[in-house]
């Protein structure tokens, strides 16, 4: 594993307008409301590692993934790729070296293009040799599958095409957004194992986004847990799973159905609004250990051993 962080963000922010403001709305003084999808996130990913980004819907994990491949532009904070700050003019350079694999295999491929054209697209021109190679690496056959359309393939095969497309130009960094969530159970293991093999072979770095803790445990070296647009815990995967520190992480682990344990112990309450998050720590309405300070001030990211936690319990 390399030493230098290939990806580094500092207080990265991305807000979306909650609704459109038209001419008349402006006349009547309607104030814009912002969805704080990613709110001051600072993380690092080292070269060659897999960072598991864990969160439920509305946690901001997909938005963070898109920010890192420059599909979205941040509203605040800094993003460093390979040590260089990513400004507007650097975006094409970053895009040369990154790729993304999306959750729904069928909607991530153009239904009207053949498999070989889809895989060749990132290259800018058709290159049979490299397409063949990429297909072989993911376990597909150029002659058999090359001319097919996505709808003629099964879910597992389609996701392999998406992976082949992601690796065809040998990127350094790939964001995988729930790549196995839409797949059948019996195919998940196949694709996860394939991803791990490819990472070794091609010396890749992964950001693996998932809501499934077990998958994250299987594939990640370090994990970052996101809640309501913020990273609440961050550290080595074995440590975090054996001794989760943040109350949300602890409750999340008790909410996942696990063979051998018949009871689930989830947190109470609903997922928070991203437009009007609770004051102070975003998790405070649902936290079993809530204290007064939690309702008043947002906790900073504290370092405990090699772990980072954003929780007043550890001050």
């Amino acid at each position: 594993m390399g030493m230098a962080p290939i990806i580094k963000t500092e207080n990265l922010r991305k807000y979306y307008l909650a609704y459109k403001i038209g001419l008349l709305d402006r006349l009547f003084g309607k104030k814009p409301a912002w969805v704080r999808a990613v709110d001051n996130v600072s993380i690092e990913i080292e070269e060659g590692e897999t960072l598991g980004l864990i969160g439920e819907s509305g946690s901001g994990k997909t938005t963070l993934g898109k920010l890192l491949v420059t599909l979205e532009k941040p509203d605040g904070g800094k993003y460093y790729f390979m040590g260089e700050e990513v400004t507007e003019d650097k975006i094409p350079w970053v895009r040369q070296q990154v790729a993304m694999v999306f959750q729904n295999p069928y909607s991530s491929l153009n239904p009207r293009m053949s498999v070989k054209d889809i895989i060749s697209e990132p290259l800018g021109h058709f290159d049979e040799g490299r397409v063949r190679e990429a297909m072989e690496m993911v376990g597909l056959n150029y002659r058999e599958h090359g001319n097919k359309r996505p709808r003629e393939l099964s879910g597992g095969q389609v996701q392999r095409v998406a992976i082949a497309r992601a690796i065809v130009k040998r990127p350094r960094f790939i964001v995988l957004d729930e790549p196995t969530s839409a797949l059948d159970a019996s195919l998940q293991a196949q694709v996860l194992n394939l991803l791990m093999d490819l990472k070794e072979e091609l010396k890749l770095t992964y950001l693996f986004i998932t809501h499934n803790l077990a998958v994250a445990y299987y594939i990640a070296d370090r994990v970052a847990i996101m809640y309501a647009g913020k990273v609440v815990e961050y550290g080595d995967v074995d440590e975090v799973f054996k001794k989760p520190m943040h109350p949300y992480t602890q409750l999340l682990m008790k909410s996942i159905p696990t063979i051998g344990r018949k009871t689930l112990e989830p947190p109470t309450g609903e997922v928070p609004s991203l437009i009007n998050p609770p004051p102070g720590c975003r998790f405070n309405p649902r936290c079993p250990y809530v204290m007064d300070i939690c309702r008043e001030r947002e906790p900073e990211m504290l370092s405990v051993d090699k772990r980072k936690v954003a929780c007043w319990l550890y001050k």
Binding site: T70, L71, N104, S107, E152, L153
Partner: protein
């Protein structure tokens, strides 16, 4: 149900055409529409080609090679003959065989306006609608307001007004139709573009730096056109009817050539009710052609919309 499709030995495209035909035919109305439209298109192609060759090679005889009679041949003595085995649709006021006139006029009274207008409207609508849907912002707002304005006025009235302004000729009529017809296609393309824009493969294309032209054709246009095809089928019938209506009131005519709508108009003004066939047959022809498109288009919309029973 998994998404695999059985591979057949026959080429994939031919199989799908045949299975479309089977699907359409399951509904009797759809089948009738299919038959009428196929006959109409085949006839227009064959007869239209003959007419073009005739004028190009300066051999008018080619134009009525397949017709029972020369549609221009006058025979004043044999004017206003009742429909009979000799003249299946009777003769008009100049003694010309009505059936030959009708068949001769089908390509340019019906087929050319329909295809010219609809295809142009699709092209213009695609460019404007897709760009508006994809780029959004003020361009989208402008387009929406413009199409709103056009769509709030009944198409025929607008077409007539513009035609008259542009001189009441055939080309004037075609241009006025295209002006009136494109807004709905722009709206349809825009709506489909909004749906397609949300797909991950568009995000992937952006990420991999696909050129705008390629994005337009291979990603947006080709994936948005499906519902438009079914709608266009119905629309061919609309254009044929609208063109005939304009022809009926004297707009969009081509001097010297028999035109379905004009024949119907003359038949009604001068030959009705005594020489009823002169009004009836051209009108029925227009009706049947338009009906064919409506039945076929309806069935296609049912199939594409998933309402078809197998």
């Amino acid at each position: 149900m998994t998404k695999q499709v059985v591979k057949r030995r026959v080429g994939g495209f031919a199989v799908s055409i045949w299975s479309w035909i089977k699907l359409i035919s399951k509904d009797p109305a759809g089948l009738l529409g299919l038959i009428i439209v196929t006959a109409f298109i085949l006839w227009s192609i064959i007869q239209g080609t003959l007419e073009l060759l005739a004028s190009y090679l300066k051999d008018p005889g080619l134009g009525w090679l397949l017709l029972p009679y020369n549609p221009f041949a006058q025979n004043l003595a044999g004017a206003f003959q009742l429909p009979s085995w000799v003249h299946l649709m009777g003769t008009d006021y100049m003694g010309r065989d009505l059936l030959s006139e009708v068949l001769y006029s089908i390509p340019y009274s019906a087929a050319y306006p329909a295809f010219l207008v609809v295809l142009s409207a699709i092209l213009i609508g695609a460019v404007l609608g897709i760009s508006a849907g994809y780029l959004g912002g003020w361009w989208d707002e402008v387009l929406m307001r413009v199409t709103d304005a056009f769509l709030s006025i009944p198409a025929i009235i607008l077409a007539i007004a513009i035609s008259v302004l542009l001189k009441a000729s055939f080309t004037g009529m075609i241009y006025s139709f295209i002006i009136v017809w494109w807004p709905i296609y722009a709206r349809l393309f825009r709506a489909e573009t909004l749906r397609v824009k949300a797909m991950d493969y568009i995000a992937a294309a952006q990420l991999y730096g696909v050129s705008p032209l390629r994005l337009f054709f291979k990603y947006l246009f080709i994936n948005t056109i499906d519902p438009i095809i079914a709608y266009a089928m119905l629309d061919f019938g609309n254009v044929i009817l609208a063109a005939s209506i304009l022809n009926f009131i004297g707009v969009g005519l081509q001097p010297g050539l028999p035109i379905l709508g004009e024949m119907a108009s003359e038949g009604v003004s001068w030959g009705f009710p005594r020489y009823w066939w002169w009004a009836l047959f051209p009108s029925i022809t227009i009706l049947i052609i338009a009906l064919g498109f409506v039945l076929l288009g309806d069935r296609l919309q049912d199939i594409i919309g998933g309402r078809a029973a197998y």
